[in-house]
């Protein structure tokens, strides 16, 4: 016979596939691996997206070191530290949610997801009070900067970066909350089992990255010396 690459089959059977396994994957493992590769690549793009801001911040800080030191005194270290703790706790509860999904403890999954959501909400509340204080003082980006009594010029550049970086990060928190709410309802419906828990695993990976970025933002913005 010729060396063709074919094993002819009858019409493809779909009855073996249940709905959580997409038609183009042969096994759950293959589907999970593909999903993880996709999510890690997406996280890499997120790091590079923030990377541009980090590089810009570093260059502007080296250009105006005194302005950046002066400007950062307007930030409240204690609130920043509080938010860091809040996000670390949320990362832990996220890990537990994934673990419980894998071991099919459905009630616990829901509880841990709710705590994670609550932490995210606390984070945003704290951020709201911080922003309100900055807006009140006129510590705003670019041409909106109206703070009076500065001894060093160019502090508006610091606040440009402060609002861009924490704002972009805040948007990621909101996105994460939406994703967690989505998997909360899917978990409630009983979509996940030991074989299929890809979505909750992937949302977990994303959430850890959002936390990780804050871990870098906190010392960068709040703890300049």
């Amino acid at each position: 016979m010729s060396d063709t690459a074919a094993v002819v089959h009858e019409e493809h059977s779909h009855e073996h596939h249940d709905s959580s396994l997409q038609h183009h994957f042969a096994t759950y493992e293959q589907q999970m691996d593909a999903g993880k590769i996709g999510m890690w690549l997406f996280l890499a793009t997120e790091i590079l997206l923030f990377g541009g801001l980090f590089v810009g911040f570093a260059l502007m800080q080296s250009k105006y070191p005194e302005a950046f030191v002066q400007a950062h005194h307007h930030l409240d270290k204690n609130l920043g530290f509080l938010n860091t703790v809040v996000l670390l706790v949320s990362s832990f509860t996220m890990v537990m949610a994934v673990h419980c999904a894998k071991t099919e403890q459905r009630k616990k999954v829901l509880v841990y997801l709710l705590i994670t959501l609550a932490c995210a909400a606390i984070f945003l509340c704290v951020k709201y009070f911080e922003y309100e204080h900055k807006i009140h003082e006129g510590l705003l980006p670019g041409k909106f900067y109206t703070h009076v009594g500065d001894t060093v010029p160019h502090q508006f550049v610091f606040f440009s970066f402060y609002f861009m970086m924490t704002g972009l990060h805040g948007l990621h928190i909101v996105g994460g909350m939406a994703a967690i709410t989505w998997i909360f309802f899917r978990a409630k419906k009983g979509d996940f089992n030991h074989q299929y828990y890809t979505p909750i695993d992937l949302v977990g990976l994303y959430w850890h990255l959002v936390d990780l970025i804050w871990i870098y933002l906190f010392p960068l913005l709040y703890l300049i010396s």
Binding site: A5, H24, F25, Q30, G38, G51, G52, K63, M164
Partner: protein, 545 residues
């Protein structure tokens, strides 16, 4: 028509009923707009990028007519600035970057791997709609005032000029996400959806090229994204990062921009090379020479490509040491490119070469990319570049790479896979004439510009000295020949769609998976489970019996 003994008789009965295929079932506009079939998404991308190519091409023809005479010919200087900006933005962001990966790659890549679809079919459709939204932003920016910054959006001009810079930058930002999602999809697909028996070194080289391209798309595009956001914020809020008037650093914008946009050059050329690696062995009926060398050269171009962005900035005020290092690294890119060219030539050596349209395009590619690559070395050399910066020599160089390289390869790939995509053969004689017109017209248009540039004609100028007029006129006539070739090509390709299905499964006698299914394929790609038994370029004579 070539009919080779290696064509797989078992899967190519003389007449087969292909009326059920991915185009015809399911029917209806909605089934297309909501499809998650990679083939349909590829076709939708194909019509979109061809539309962009037409629009960008019309702008190019208008520019050449304006340059027929010194002073005003058909448009004012302001219009001229807008037209060359739109030509650049459309060709780069709406046509070339998505042309091969998103249109041809989407269609062919899963078929080549023996897969039923890409890893994330819904993400694939999502990336198409992001492309459409980005294109709509771009068109809105065009019709509501246009942009006159050039496609590079250099600060401080772009932060101070009027016009729809922010809207156009937003369009490029959105289009970037489309590109990122396609890249993520392709990487996961290559990792997880290869047919049984297909290891990394049994993949067709087109797949290696797509994989390398996807890596660049994923790693470089986010940096462009954030740069464009910073540019928008600088324009609207004055955040103080790029605008020197408020203490920003305009050269920083150039660094950020080229950190993406130089790798983006490889997002454009590596897929072109990937197509050539398929066409040449098929039409030489010979195993590819140096498979691993070609595969790794794609990857190494992708990696070294990240380290050469400073060669766009030799006269922008970066340190001399940085310029020397960037110059050296630029020379390094020539090595993997040269490896490819010599391997293709060695593949053709003593092969049974036939000269159908795809092969004519591949040979055109070798000649034109050879010139484009070599002049890149001239420009990478510091002392030469300082004289040639911002002259027509640079314009000619990147058109030889982008058009002579990528677009010619795209056209070759389009002719190569057209029978598979639409199930029809086009008129071969007209295709050969079209290719000839494109080749001659292209060289008339752009080789002239090497001469103009070396004599000191600066790029982006509306007026020029009388002494340049003869050469400019010759270049303009060349653009008409080029345009005639492309319109002829569009004509016979579209005409073929009116015929009944007449393409066999494997019209070229190729050895990769996509030729083993029917033309056009069924929705699930294969009516059998593909298992790899022979290599992608195994053209040894089949054993009888």
């Amino acid at each position: 028509m070539a009919n080779h003994p290696t064509t797989q008789a078992i899967h190519s009965p003389v007449k087969e009923d292909v009326s059920v295929n991915y185009i015809t079932s399911p029917k209806g506009l909605m089934s297309w707009l909501t499809t998650i079939d990679h083939k349909r998404i590829g076709i939708m991308y194909l019509w979109a990028v061809l539309g962009a190519f037409l629009l960008g091409g019309i702008f190019a023809l208008l520019l050449r007519i304006e340059l027929l005479t010194p002073k005003e010919t058909i448009m004012t200087a302001e219009t001229y600035n807008k037209v060359f900006t739109l030509h650049g933005v459309i060709m780069v962001f709406l046509f070339i970057i998505p042309s091969i990966p998103a249109a041809l790659g989407n269609f062919v890549l899963p078929l080549m791997l023996g897969a039923k679809d890409v890893a994330f079919p819904r993400l694939n459709l999502f990336s198409y709609y992001i492309y459409v939204v980005g294109a709509l932003f771009g068109i809105t920016a065009m019709v509501t005032g246009g942009v006159d910054t050039g496609w590079t959006f250099y600060t401080p001009y772009s932060t101070t000029t009027n016009g729809q810079v922010s809207m156009m930058v937003m369009a490029a930002f959105i289009l970037g996400f489309s590109s990122i999602f396609t890249g993520i999809n392709f990487i996961a697909t290559v990792h997880k959806l290869r047919a049984p028996g297909m290891g990394w070194f049994q993949m067709p080289l087109f797949v290696w090229g797509m994989y390398s391209t996807a890596v660049i798309q994923v790693l470089a595009t986010p940096v462009l994204g954030i740069t464009l956001v910073l540019l928008m914020l600088e324009r609207s809020f004055g955040i103080g990062i790029f605008d020197p008037a408020i203490g920003g650093d305009p050269v920083l914008f150039q660094h950020f921009f080229w950190f993406y946009s130089h790798p983006a050059v490889y997002i454009m050329i590596v897929p072109g090379m990937a197509i050539i690696s398929e066409i040449i062995p098929t039409f030489s009926k010979k195993t590819i020479f140096g498979y691993k060398a070609i595969a790794f050269s794609s990857v190494s171009i992708a990696l070294v490509g990240f380290l050469v962005w400073g060669h766009h900035m030799f006269v922008s005020g970066q340190s001399n040491l940085a310029s020397v290092i960037f110059s050296f690294l630029t020379f390094l890119v020539a090595i993997p490119s040269g490896v490819k060219v010599f391997n293709w030539l060695a593949t053709m050596y003593r092969g049974s070469i036939t000269l159908e349209a795809p092969m004519l395009y591949a040979i055109s590619f070798l000649l034109l990319f050879g010139i484009g690559g070599l002049t890149g070395i001239f420009l990478g050399a510091l002392s030469v570049d300082i004289h040639l910066t911002d002259t027509y020599f640079v314009v000619a160089h990147f058109h030889y790479v982008m058009m002579g390289g990528t677009v010619i390869a795209f056209l070759g790939g389009l002719h190569y896979w057209w029978p598979k995509m639409f199930g029809r053969m086009y008129n071969e004689r007209l295709a050969q004439i079209g290719c000839g017109l494109v080749f001659v017209g292209f060289n008339m248009t752009f080789f002239t510009q090497f001469v103009l540039g070396s004599r000191g004609m600066p790029r982006r100028y509306y007026n020029y000295l009388d002494q340049f007029q003869a050469l400019h006129a010759f270049s303009t006539v060349g653009s008409w020949v080029l345009g005639a070739g492309l319109f002829l090509t569009a004509g016979y390709l579209l005409a073929s769609l009116r015929k009944p299905y007449d393409a066999p499964r494997n019209p070229w006698g190729s050895r990769t998976f996509e030729w083993e299914t029917q033309s056009p394929p069924i929705t699930h790609n294969f009516d059998f489970d593909p298992v790899l038994i022979h290599g992608p370029y195994d053209y040894r004579p089949e054993k009888k019996g």
